[in-house]
Each structure stands twice: as C-alpha cells, then as structure tokens.
C-alpha cells in the first residue's frame, strides 16, 4: 500500500460503462416514483418510459465500451492501484453482457404486466446487476472480482423471487441465494489463501508471485475456480440450476442464463487466461474434469425433462461444459470461448424470449405439452423456437455451429482428443432433446388451450433481433454481409483479438 499522492491520477474512461449503467439504475428508481403517480399514464406507458431510460444507459455504456474496443485502448482507473482495466478483452465482454441486458429489458416488459409483477424496481435491479457484470469482466484485482460478483448476484437473487405469489419463484430465490452465498464464501476463502501466499491482491501480482509448490496457493486457486463454477452452473456445482431456472420469471431466467454465464466465464478467463504457467497444469486438470462432467451430466439429464425451462437449464449445464473445453486448449481456445459466449447469448435468450411471448393468462406455458401443434396456431413462433434450439444444438447455418466448431477444433489442435470426442458425442445426444420441442410443435395436434392473441412489439423486436443475429453470425461470422455496418462486423476475429489482450 503506497502512500497516496495528494493529486491522484484518475482515468474515468475506465469505469465509464459501469458508472453509466449504475446511474441509469438510479435514474430508473427515481423516475418510477414520479411516473407511478401520474394517473394519466397507463401501466404500459410507465414501463416504456423506464425501459427507454434503461436503454439509454445501456446504449451509452455499449457505445463507450465499443469505442474502447475499436480503438484498442487500455485504460486503468487508478494507475497506482489498478482495480478495473478497460482493455479490449473487458470491452468485448462488456458489450456481450450489455446486449444481453438490453434484450432482456425489452423482452420482460409485456411479460411483467402479464404476470402482474410490473414494478419499476425490476429495471433498476437488472441494471445494477449489469453494472456488476461490467465490474467483474474488467476486474484486475481480487477485491473487484469479489465486489463485481456480489453486485451481479444480489439483484438476481431478488429478481428470481420477483413473482412473490408463486411458490416456485420464492423457492428459486431462496435456493439461489443460499447456494450462491455458499459459492461466494468459497471464493472468498480462496482469495484469502491467494493473498496469504502471494501477498498481492492484484491479479497480475498474484500471477507473478504465484508459488506453485505451495499447496495453499493451489487450494486458493481451486476455491476461486469452484466459486466461479457455481455461477456458470458447471457440474458438479450445478444442482441449483434446474429449480432456479424453472422457478424464476422466464424473462429473468433468460437474462441470468446468458449474462451471468458470460461475465463469470470472462472472470475465469482473467484468472486462467494469462500465463499462470506454474499453476496452469493443475488448473487445467480441474477444468478438464469439470468440463467432462458438465457435458455428460447436462446433456443426458436434459433428455428426460418435460418442462422446456428445465430442459434449457440442463442444456445450460452442458454448454458450460463446452465452454470449459475451450479453456483446456490454452491460449488459442480463449477467443473461441468468447465467441461461444456471444453465440450462446443470442440463441439462448431467443429461446427464452419465445417462452416469454407464449406466457398466457399470467402463467408460463412451459410444459412440453403446451407446445403441441404450435406450428399450426402460431407458425412464426414455432419457426423461431426451432431456429434457436437448432442453434443451441449446433446445426450448420446457425451461429451455434460456428461456435461449437471453433471450440472442438481448438480442442483437437491442443490434442485434447478424448474431450473433443466426448463433446461431439454429447452434441449428438443434445439433438434429441432440442428437436423434441419442434416435433411437438410440428407433428402433434394442438390441445384445448387457445393461444394468447398476437405478439407485442417489444417482444417481436427482441425475437427478430436474436433470430437475425443467430443467422447472420452463422453465415457471416467474419463480416462481409453486404450492408454498410454489418460489412465490417468481424465478430469472430474480434473475439480472438479480445482474447489476445489477456496476454
């Protein structure tokens, strides 16, 4: 701890995305109080106003992060004691979680009204959580890693229990809270051991001073990895996933399934991604085991699920396994991991958005039976759901294929053959349960239940944005689509450039 100079040299551009999103959250909180009192405004209009404020904050944050990425600058808030670093890596991850939050805001609007849980705090909590994710992905100090993780988790514990009338929602919140706190305790214990053995709190310092022959340091690293593995719902730390995914309001499930995973994996990349050479072998062995178990357990258990939200929860476990395969491949795998997270975002959020849009009479229609004959009743929705599920399975032509292909090929190149073979085999298994939903939608007769009429504009916008992204990134992962902005959107190359900033 150096004695601070009187004039601190602070660079606020490093914390701009976090600060903007946090201020957006506060603006939503304040604005809601005033808008809710204006009798002339309908519930829907209040929601639109709050969502617009949230959108403004998120777009500004995305703009700053995107600019930082394209310019390739790296800024640290306080050079004397670096806590957050906005480099190309964190800028990329910030954009990913920001897009996830943006889509979630618009996806949840009509749904919250439908479920009669339309409180303005929802948007504020969502934004605070997003700010926490942006802290986590930019954290270069163990202190900010912990704070970011807590700021992202706490609002989600609440959001999971947002539907207080529903027992399963309460159960989800309680379960996620207890398990999440447990994971945080493990992570804290790990950080204490790391600090104790290295005398550093900065990640770079820990890396430089890491005593690889000290079992305490290795235990500390292992505990940090376990703490983060809880958040990404990798097996065997996944037990909370199905219940929480099923019980939480679907818009919240969609939000947390993609953004929490992206942020926690980004933090794991910061830990594992640099040259932790002394620990790399041990860490690699742990991650290898977790990856294998997640893929096998997630895919096989997903087969027997009759609730689509639960099925997607087990598929989330499986996808955590695929992402971890990218970790075991070392440096070349990190770009593949980042691209996978972006790909997973659009496909998974899209699938949850379909369930959100199908919610009827204040309830989720998430049993597989309620998808029967959907193609006849609502052909557009059925087609979109099929597209998103096929992308999750990894059919060529969708972004899921490119992402999986990247992961598998780096695994093969890194001579992780057994892991790659398991990944391919479990992908084949996954086609069964992903295709089960389209089979119900296209080949069964519709049941008694009449569908909810129409599709609301915000939901339609979110669905089409996800669908366009899935297809566009599937066919043009490196840009080249003949439309001015998209021409240069070389997302795949960007992911690899972002990963290069780790080293």
């Amino acid at each position: 701890m150096s004695p601070a100079s009187p004039a601190m040299n602070l660079d606020f551009s490093a914390i701009a995305p976090v600060a903007i999103v946090a201020m957006g959250a506060m603006a939503v909180l304040v604005l809601e109080v005033f808008l809710a009192r204006m009798r002339s405004l309908s519930e829907f209009h209040v929601s639109v106003a709050l969502a617009l404020v949230a959108t403004l904050a998120l777009v500004l944050a995305l703009g700053t992060a995107g600019q930082a990425f394209l310019q390739g600058t790296s800024s640290v808030f306080n050079a004397d004691n670096p806590m957050l670093r906005l480099d190309r890596f964190s800028a990329f991850a910030t954009v990913v979680v920001g897009i996830g939050a943006l889509l979630s805001v618009w996806m949840s609007m009509q749904y919250l009204i439908e479920l009669r849980i339309n409180h303005g705090e929802h948007y504020a909590l969502l934004l605070i959580s997003t700010a926490g994710m942006m802290v986590l992905v930019a954290a270069v100090d163990i202190l900010t890693v912990f704070l970011g993780l807590e700021i992202l988790s706490l609002p989600i514990y609440v959001l999971a229990g947002f539907d207080r009338r529903k027992t399963t929602s309460n159960e989800a919140a309680m379960k996620y809270f207890l398990v999440g706190t447990f994971a945080t305790a493990l992570l804290l214990y790990g950080t204490a051991l790391l600090y104790g053995t290295t005398g550093e709190t900065g990640l770079d310092g820990i890396r430089a001073a890491f005593p690889s022959d000290n079992p305490l340091a290795l235990a500390g690293l292992g505990l940090v990895v376990v703490g983060l593995a809880f958040k990404v719902s990798a097996a065997p730390f996944h037990q909370w996933t199905p219940d929480v995914y099923e019980g939480a309001p679907t818009s919240v499930t969609g939000f947390m399934s993609v953004t929490v995973k992206a942020a926690a994996f980004a933090a794991l990349l910061r830990f594992a991604g640099g040259d932790v050479e002394p620990a790399a072998e041990n860490l690699g062995r742990i991650l290898w085991g977790i990856a294998l178990l997640s893929m096998v357990l997630g895919n096989i258990t997903a087969v027997v699920q009759d609730n689509v939200k639960r099925m997607l929860a087990w598929s989330a476990v499986a996808h955590a396994g695929y992402v971890l395969v990218g970790f075991t491949a070392g440096a070349p795998g990190h770009g593949a991991v980042l691209f996978y997270l972006a790909a997973y975002l659009f496909a998974n959020l899209g699938a949850f958005a379909v369930i959100v849009a199908l919610a009827d009479r204040g309830r989720d229609q998430d049993r597989i039976e309620s998808f029967a004959g959907l193609a006849r009743r609502r052909p557009g929705m059925a087609a979109l759901m099929t597209l998103f599920l096929l992308s999750l399975a990894g059919l060529p032509g969708t972004v899921g294929f490119i992402a999986k292909f990247q992961i598998f090929s780096v695994a093969v190149r890194a001579e992780e053959l057994s892991l790659a073979i398991v990944a391919v085999l479990t992908t084949v298994v996954s086609f069964y349960y992903y295709l089960r939903v389209p089979v119900w939608m296209y080949m069964r007769d519709p049941g008694e239940t009449p569908p909810r009429a129409g599709l609301d504009t915000p939901e339609a916008a979110v669905l089409s944005a996800c669908a366009i992204a899935v297809l566009l990134l599937g066919f043009f992962p490196n840009g080249g689509f003949p439309v001015p902005v998209l021409q240069d959107a070389t997302v795949l190359a960007w992911a690899h450039e972002a990963a290069a900033a780790l080293r």
């Binding site: 601070a4 946090a22 306080n78 806590m83 909590l125 700010a131 926490g132 706490l154 609002p155 235990a219």
Partner: protein
C-alpha cells in the same frame, strides 16, 4: 514464548472452540448464537495482535454487536424449540462430511508446516483509523463506491421482497 504468541493461542483456541460449540449445539439456538459472540470477540483479539486496531473495534461493534443482536432477535422471534427440528437424518452423509473435513484439515496443517512466514514489520500508525481512512478514500476509493452500489442493490431488493403489497 512471547506474550503475543501466548495471547494468540488463547484467542485462537477460544475462537475455534466456540465456533465448534456453535455448530454442534443443536438444541439451544440462543446458546449457539452466544457461542458465536465468543468467536467474534476472540477474532477481534487476534486482530489487535495483528495491529489492526480499527478492524478489531469494527469487529466488536458490527459483528459482536449489530449482527449478533439481529441473530438473537430472529432466533427469539421464531421461538424454535427442540421438537421443531426434524429428527437427524442422513447420518452417513454427516459422517462422510466430517471425515472429509478432517482429511482436509490434516492436509491443510501439513501444508502449513514450514510455510508460516514471520510477521512483517509494520509502521507505527498501521491499522489506525487515519491510515485506514486514507487508504479507503485514495487507493481503494473505487472499491468503496462499488460497495455503496452493492448496498443500494440490497436495499432495493429488501424493499421489493418484503415491503411491496401483493396484488391479488
């Protein structure tokens, strides 16, 4: 053995012993909570030995004071009696857990032997409110502000979950 080391062992034994007493006391929750107070105060003693005087004071005020009072309140409000708890089950799991914990502890102690560094020399003013305050608002100002964001989230969350009236 220096006086410092002697007191360290006293406080450490107290902290570990009362923590164990808290976990193993299944019948009387108030007594368990009071065991926790002993742990907290002993930890404060260890902080004093480490020259972290402000942290020691905060430990007593916040943990032994506020947090524990909250615990005792909740325990008393719930008024849990012995017959409320379900009979002990999953005995094999508990035994396996205890065994695993013992193995872990043994490994931990074995690893610790020979790795304990000497206590670093610290400046005279270390651990006082002045030094802590200075560090908090210069080097760690960002972390400080982030904690306030975390507290905001906690407050909003508590209001949402507890205060909002349920619409029928």
């Amino acid at each position: 053995m220096s006086a410092e080391l002697f007191f360290f062992y006293v406080f450490a034994a107290l902290a570990a012993g009362s923590a164990l007493a808290m976990v193993s006391n299944l019948r009387n929750t108030v007594a368990a909570a009071l065991s926790l107070v002993v742990t907290m105060v002993s930890l404060a003693g260890i902080y004093v030995l480490l020259r972290a005087h402000l942290v020691a004071a905060v430990q007593i005020m916040v943990y032994a004071g506020a947090v524990l009072v909250l615990f005792v309140f909740v325990v008393m409000l719930l008024n849990l009696r012995e017959d409320v708890f379900p009979p002990a089950r999953l005995r094999p799991f508990k035994l396996a857990g205890a065994a695993l914990g013992a193995v872990g502890l043994a490994g931990f102690l074995a690893a610790l032997a020979g790795h304990v560094p000497d206590m670093a020399a610290v400046p005279e003013s270390f651990g006082g409110y002045r030094e802590v305050g200075r560090a908090l608002f210069t080097d760690y100002v960002l972390a400080f502000e982030l904690v306030s964001l975390l507290l905001l989230a906690a407050i909003v969350g508590a209001v949402v979950l507890a205060k909002r009236r349920l619409e029928p």
